[in-house]
């Protein structure tokens, strides 16, 4: 009897899956068009899956192996089941292979079940709790029904009742795993995820065969010339179709939630919930079925689910009342990319958030907090603080900095950033200039010709102001000849390096490398141009700025510099690609969404755990945020130092004639810099 039932079951499941797939694809296609290379994309799926995706998943070894066993087992078992049971080709080795596959899958599903017994808070519950059972049903069912096929059991073993039960079990498994894949359900992630890998909006983020790192972190530019194109995303259908596909791929593993600084600070943002809300909006309905951690709410503890609802063509953020998402959720994001870095489904949360912010800022003029003021300042004075743009070099009146306007060509263009107006950052800049002079670097600055890089404007969603600033900066840059740009602001660094390229006028290119000062100093040290006095026996820890680390992959150079300084470097528990944000990115200090605690306080807590005397940073934002932390009662404040200050303090000032062993002289030099 199973011989008749199984093919019917399998093929009807496949047929239903096909119908579901069409429906699902139509849901995605509500989004705006976004051309993709279909065949090349599909062809790239295996590599993207096995290399890039696995690279992320493999950070959790147990889960990775579980997934390999379960998913690999399932794909093999399903494929073989179609052949063996669907087409009745049980001969030879195929049946045995099917047994092995389903057994592997069963083993994997045991681990899945184990994980679901006491699931961590970041995992979604609800339908996901039945997934291990469904996996077991499928794998066990297929295993048992395959036993007669390979001749281990007689074909009619157990009689019709057993056969019926088995068929029911297999049907359950097929329902969850095959047509559940396209009709919505936990297994949706497999179908949408595979296609998302194929049609990802940022194909360049995947590695290639030549071993390219594959990094694509710059935001995509809005076409402001086209006055028909929507400015940002107002409704779920305003996303491009492959963004919607990406949201649908979410497996609700909650890794993003676990690393999100805003979520940890109790700000009303949970990246996982946000993505799920987008799925709800895409399909239409309310978020009542969401079974993971909700958005935190400083007043109410948690925002209850079920209050928000949306439709594909309805607004995501309501002007009044509630819609799909509250505006404060979008403004809580620090754009630190921790979620994107952790996401095994390669979902681009930050892109989506900035897209929605663009609508709020450009269409509704609803940038919260001091956002509107900052943007007005950027428009009127080219810097967020509203300072006189003619006073960018006032801090350096005594330094006699060479101006690009005078020298016209230099080896290095030193991009100072808006930190020129901040008295704390001026110390960093002074230190950096001291270092550059000690290494005899031929550098020049733009002086009053420099403008804000546009980073803050862009993260606040004001693409128009960003593009205006960027184009004017590009025009300035293209007037001068230099070999590279060095900056001590990772935000400017990222924007100059990754986001200006798209805005160059036709026929022109950004034909210069951009270095963060830590990278550049490391190059100077490695080439022996910087005489360093050894003997700094401090215990320091290093905080990775998001825009240097996750955005640009530079984790090593600052550490190499610190090693060259001879300090004792202790790592925080979360460092490198898992570094926790200081809370200063994405305009978060400007929009200032309240939470239960502050992000920089948590980060300084991380610092204190290491018992380091100093925390070394490489970003003016991080310096400002971390220095703004008031230590808990009874604790000494941990010093916050920019890496340039560390290097400047360690410069060997002894004349080259005498051997460099005058520690006293070196420490005096230290005093000089620090004072």
């Amino acid at each position: 009897m199973l011989d008749i039932l199984l093919p019917i079951l399998i093929f009807s499941a496949l047929a239903l899956a096909a119908i579901g797939a069409v429906r699902r694809i139509r849901l995605w296609r509500q989004g705006r068009p976004s051309p993709v290379p279909v065949l090349r994309g599909l062809a790239a799926v295996p590599r993207r899956y096995l290399v890039d995706l696995h690279h992320v998943v493999a950070r959790d070894k147990v889960m990775s192996n579980t997934h390999v066993a379960t998913a690999g087992g399932f794909v093999a078992a399903m494929g073989l089941a179609i052949v063996v049971h669907g087409l009745g080709l049980a001969e030879g080795v195929l049946g045995w292979l099917l047994l092995a596959a389903s057994a592997t899958m069963f083993a994997g599903s045991l681990f899945v079940a184990q994980r679901r017994r006491n699931p961590p808070a970041r995992l979604s519950k609800g339908p996901w709790m039945r997934l291990p059972k469904s996996l077991m049903a499928f794998s066990l069912g297929i295993f048992v029904v395959t036993l007669p096929a390979v001749g281990v059991l007689p074909a009619d073993a157990g009689g019709w009742l057993v056969a019926l039960v088995l068929a029911a079990v297999v049907a359950w498994g097929l329902a969850e795993l095959v047509f559940g894949m396209t009709w919505g359900g936990p297994m949706k992630h497999a179908f949408a995820g595979a296609l998302h890998l194929a049609f990802h909006r940022r194909p360049e983020r995947f590695s290639d065969k030549r071993g390219g790192e594959g990094r694509s972190t710059g935001l995509k530019a809005l076409d402001l010339e086209d006055d028909q194109a929507p400015l940002g995303v107002e409704t779920p259908a305003d996303f491009t179709w492959n963004q919607l596909l990406g949201f649908d791929a979410c497996v609700q593993c909650g890794r993003c939630e676990a690393v999100c600084p805003a979520f940890a600070a109790g700000q009303p943002l949970n990246p996982k919930k946000l993505i799920q809300d987008m799925v709800v909006g895409m399909a239409g309905g309310s978020d009542a079925h969401y079974a993971g951690s909700p958005y935190p709410s400083p007043e109410r503890g948690d925002k209850p689910v079920g209050e928000h609802h949306g439709t594909p063509h309805g607004p995501i953020v309501a002007r009044e009342g509630t819609a799909l998402v509250d505006a404060e959720t979008l403004w809580s994001c620090t754009t630190c990319r921790a979620c994107v870095e952790e996401c095994p489904m390669m979902i681009e949360h930050v892109d989506a958030i900035v897209d929605m912010r663009r609508h709020l800022t450009l269409e509704e003029g609803a940038t919260p907090g001091k956002g509107a003021e900052v943007i007005d300042n950027l428009i009127a004075t080219d810097n967020p603080g509203g300072f006189d743009p003619g006073g960018r070099l006032n801090w350096a009146a005594d330094l006699d900095l060479p101006l690009m306007a005078d020298v016209e060509r230099a080896e290095v263009l030193l991009w100072l950033g808006d930190g020129v107006f901040d008295m704390r950052n001026q110390r960093t800049l002074r230190a950096l200039i001291k270092v550059l002079r000690a290494a005899d670097v031929d550098f020049a600055v733009l002086g009053n010709e420099e403008r804000d890089s546009g980073d803050v404007a862009r993260r606040l969603g004001d693409e128009a102001t960003f593009q205006s600033l960027a184009r004017r900066n590009i025009a300035t840059l293209s007037r001068y000849r230099f070999e590279s740009i060095v900056t001590c602001d990772p935000h400017s660094f990222h924007v100059l390096k990754n986001e200006y390229g798209a805005l160059y006028p036709q026929g022109q290119d950004a034909d210069y490398p951009v270095w963060h000062h830590s990278t550049f100093i490391n190059q100077l040290i490695e080439s022996g141009r910087l005489p360093l006095a050894p003997g700094q026996a401090q215990r320091v820890t290093y905080h990775d700025p998001c825009y240097l680390g996750r955005y640009n992959g530079e984790y090593e150079a600052p550490r190499a510099v610190l090693r060259a300084l001879g300090v004792e470097l202790v790592e925080m528990q979360r460092s490198g690609y898992r570094s926790r944000c200081c809370g200063g990115g994405g305009g978060a200090p400007i929009t200032d969404v309240p939470g239960k605690q502050r992000i920089p306080d948590m980060r300084m807590g991380d610092v204190r755990e290491t018992q380091a005397e100093q925390v070394v940073v490489g970003c003016p934002q991080c310096t400002a945020m971390l220095e703004g932390v008031v230590p808990p009662a009874g604790n000494e404040a941990t010093a916050v130092k920019d890496i340039a200050e560390m290097v400047a303090a360690a410069l060997d000032n002894t004349p080259p004639a005498t051997p460099a062993s005058h520690d006293a002289a070196a420490s005096q030099a230290t005093e000089e810099v620090l004072s």
Partner: protein
Amino acid sequence: MQPESAMTPALEVTVLVSIGRHPLTGRVRRADQDARGVELARSLADAEVRLLHAGECNESSEAALRGYLGMGFSELALIEQPEGADVLPALSEALDATSPHLVITGERAERGEGSGLLPYLLAERLGWPLVSGLAAVESVEDGMATLLQALPRGQRRRLKIRLPAIVTVDDAAPTPRQSAYGPARRGTLETSAGEVCNDDEWATWQVQPARPRPKRLKIVKAASARDRFKAAAAKAEGTGGQVLTDVTPTQGAEAILTLLRDEEVLR
């Protein structure tokens, strides 16, 4: 909305907007006080708000005027005038024609003479009452508006004024909302020609960027030559401030109280 809103005709409000100038960089922008006026108008219930500008129509003025459109307006009436023209006849003609209930404007322009006379001249010409330095409009009913006028140091005075009227807004008026790029780009400038009246007097004046005003010297009368010299040469109150350590709380409080009394901030 209130149920009676269907019966009462909407309050017609015209905001006179001008082209502003950023104090540091001199770039054109929406004028701050005018923008506050627009914000005030937007906050009025059942108001039908029109924006009106008389002046040049060129690229830079358009950019500034679009700043007002970005506050959520689809159009702005622009009476085209040559540079340096006296816009009074054109504006009063336009206001006469549309006869709004309430005209809101900033106290003075950020460019040109910026004498702040325009609202007064308009009021005189139209024969309407005028209230200056407004912080808020509390209510409008039966042809009377209840207003809050800003007094120094956050104080307020309540006034009642018969409509139609002209009011000018103070820096204490609500901060203008953000000007959004989308509506600013989409909105239209309804250009019309108006009566042109050249300001000949202005052309004869010498205009130059403001020089810093000389600091007034403290003139010390009589006494000795040495005192006069000292007064002229001494640094103005370069005292580092008094620090009271090891005092009882009461002594400290007394010192503070003395200073508060000297400064007359205690009421």
